[in-house]
């Protein structure tokens, strides 16, 4: 929540201008998308296109303001930290792909084991932690809270 900049003024400017350019591109794409919305009738004079197009204009103007006045930024990690940060979404994708076929327990075991490693747990503790997470959450959600979770089909169930 801090407004203090954590990176150099040059880096802040690069990040700000890069983000502003992306937002401007988004505004253009969103505006074009909004202008071609198909509809056959509308009970109000505005219709479904005008609000999105107005938002696209507002975002475009704000992006220009941001481009010239980027404010502060935290800056992006690099090296090992960046690799670890990027490993989290990869791990999430793997566990979500396995979520329904392998079942909740297996998928969560893989997710918690991998993320414990990424967060620096020693192998033994990571294994125990992952087994604990998989068991605890399965029992809590499936049996205590009766939330539907997939049990998996990969292993012949």
């Amino acid at each position: 929540m801090s407004d203090e900049s954590h990176c150099s003024p040059r880096a802040v400017q690069v990040i700000g201008r890069g983000a502003a350019t992306c937002l401007l591109a988004l505004a253009v794409a969103y505006g074009i998308g909004g202008s071609v919305i198909e509809y056959s009738f509308s009970s109000d004079p505005l219709g479904p296109r005008v609000f999105p197009m107005a938002l696209a204009v507002v975002l475009g103007l704000l992006a220009v303001w941001y481009f010239f006045s980027p404010g502060s930024a935290e800056g992006f990690p690099s090296g090992v930290v960046l690799a670890r940060v990027l490993a989290v979404p990869v791990l999430l994708v793997v566990s979500v792909v396995l979520f329904e076929p392998a079942g909740f327990a297996v998928s969560i075991f893989i997710l918690t084991l991998g993320s414990a490693f990424i967060f620096g747990a020693p192998p033994g503790k990571a294994l125990i932690g992952a087994a604990g997470h998989a068991t605890l959450w399965w029992v809590v959600f499936s049996y205590l809270l009766e939330v539907y979770l997939p049990s998996g089909t990969l292993f012949g169930r």
């Binding site: 909004g34 009738f41 109000d44 704000l62 989290v88 939330v147």
Partner: protein
């Protein structure tokens, strides 16, 4: 003044089930608040889908979420005082004098005193909410679509000028939220907008998916980045009770800060971070005659704690009476009501008094529970600071996945949540805040519907947006909150430059 709804609310809040739910919520909230990484929004976002899936009635869910919210405001002080790392945005200023007190061996006193200040702020805020909500709801009954549209413009103007130092970023975040709200079927024309032929986007982006993605997933990545930045927990707590002389010394500051906190909480879009900063600087300006603020002054500790708890209560006023959230967390709670197909607004008080009254009454009960929990059990809550990230973060990831999957049993929703989480992380790195996105998203559909309804009434004539006294008053207020802070900051900068030149 008709307080019938409040007595009805106490009957709801004091049932065995709701008392238990309140107690659990207070406990979880304090734990969530104490953890430096997780704020009230994360706690509520993770538990909301589970409460919904469990089939809890709307009033019980609101009691649970309100208890978590208030508990987190109490808990935020623990890591501020013992770790010098705020548990949530509202506790940033608590560290200014709380941490120096802890370093002087007075951590226990700081925790006890801030617990009492939190309680006073919470109770005064609850009284304000109970009295003010019916008044505002009565006024708002006369609101038509045009007034609602202008009210939302006022909320965004307040946000832009009061949240963060860079209005462009706050307003961009709001606009992104508004844009995300346009995804899905347009109910008026039957047109599908921005769905990319994906059937699962037909109903729009699920609120839970957006909140969990923006807050929990991006937070997990931020925790990973910040790992290893040396944080030392102060373990010597010392005396665990507040001194009477300190309580007396803080009385005026606590009462004033509670009032400031409540008023700021009522303003749409602003939250505890703003109120705690304003109350701290006010206390410093009025009381710091010996230069003790920032070095362990008890008044500097009491001011932000009273304010952030009063703000939490004040933020419910616009949410319950106008359907416009007073803070990021109440925006999530507004989304929770919408999950139950309940539309907050002035009629909620008369149509569903058990929800409004139950929530308000639960705040009184919750603050009593929190005081009882936080004074004797603070050492237990402090132990949560020693839970390692490798055990905590996987738990957050699991709750995120289960929370999203449990509402619609859809793997697509989990992928969408992950994508939103990555975008949220990128935005946070670029210095954007996430709460305005949620506010924009929650208000987006209402804003568009009200604009379209207003123009349908006027036959397409936009002058309807300037046709009533309420509309014009709100436009003037919106212009004032947008312009006055700019003027004041320019004036103070000029004064500083003049002083430097002299």
């Amino acid at each position: 003044m008709n307080l019938e709804y409040l007595w009805q609310g106490f009957a709801v809040a004091l049932t065995g089930q709701n008392l238990l739910i309140g107690l659990i919520g207070c406990f979880i909230g304090t734990l969530v608040g104490a953890l430096p990484a997780i704020g009230p929004i994360n706690g509520i976002a993770l538990l909301l889908p589970i409460a919904y899936t469990m089939g809890l009635p709307a009033e019980s869910t609101m009691i649970l979420l309100a208890a978590i919210y208030c508990g987190a405001e109490y808990g935020g002080r623990i890591s501020s005082i013992l770790l010098n790392v705020p548990g949530d945005a509202g506790a940033v200023m608590t560290a200014m004098d709380g941490y120096p007190m802890a370093r002087q061996g007075r951590a226990g006193e700081a925790l006890a005193l801030s617990g009492i200040a939190s309680f006073v702020g919470g109770i005064l805020g609850s009284i304000g909410l109970a009295l003010f909500a019916p008044l505002l709801a009565g006024l708002a009954i006369g609101f038509g679509p045009a007034e609602y549209f202008v009210l939302m413009m006022f909320a965004f103007a307040t946000l832009g000028s009061m949240v963060g130092s860079y209005p462009a970023k706050t307003l961009i975040a709001c606009t992104l939220g508004l844009m995300l709200a346009t995804v899905g079927l347009d109910a008026t024309s039957g047109a599908y907008r921005f769905t990319f032929n994906e059937p699962e986007l037909g109903d729009g982006i699920e609120f839970v998916v957006l909140v969990i993605g923006l807050f929990s997933i991006s937070e997990a990545l931020i925790i990973l980045e910040n790992q290893g930045r040396g944080m030392t927990v102060i373990r010597e707590l010392g005396r665990m009770t507040a001194r009477m002389s300190d309580i007396v010394k803080c009385t005026g500051t606590t009462l004033r800060s509670s009032l400031i906190g409540f008023v700021i909480g009522v303003l749409p879009g602003t939250g505890a971070s703003v109120s705690s900063a304003i109350s701290y600087t006010t206390a410093k300006r009025l009381s710091d005659t010996e230069g003790t603020f920032g070095k362990g002054d008890v008044r500097g500790l009491a001011a932000p704690e009273a304010a952030n708890n009063a703000t939490a209560c004040g933020a419910f006023v616009p949410m319950l009476t106008l359907g416009v959230p007073g803070s990021g967390t109440t925006a999530v709670m507004l989304g929770a009501l919408m999950l139950y197909n309940i539309q907050p607004g002035p009629m909620l008080l008369t149509e569903r008094p058990e929800i409004v009254g139950g929530l308000v009454a639960s705040l009184f009960v919750g603050n009593l529970i929190l005081l009882a929990l936080n004074l004797p059990l603070v050492q237990i809550f402090a132990r949560v600071l020693t839970v390692p990230n490798w055990l905590l973060v996987p738990g957050i990831l699991v709750l995120s996945i289960v929370g999203v999957y449990s509402t619609h049993s859809s793997v697509f929703s989990i992928f969408l949540m992950m994508s939103i989480g990555m975008v949220g992380w990128l935005l946070r790195k670029a210095g954007f805040e996430m709460a305005p996105i949620i506010l924009g998203f929650v208000l987006g559909r209402l804003m568009e519907v009200n604009l379209r309804n207003a123009l349908a009434i006027s036959g397409g004539d936009p002058s309807i947006l300037f046709s009533s006294t309420i509309c014009n008053l709100l436009w003037v207020l919106a212009a004032a909150v947008a312009i006055v802070p700019f003027y004041l900051s320019r004036r103070s900068r000029r004064r500083k430059m003049l002083m430097a030149a002299e």
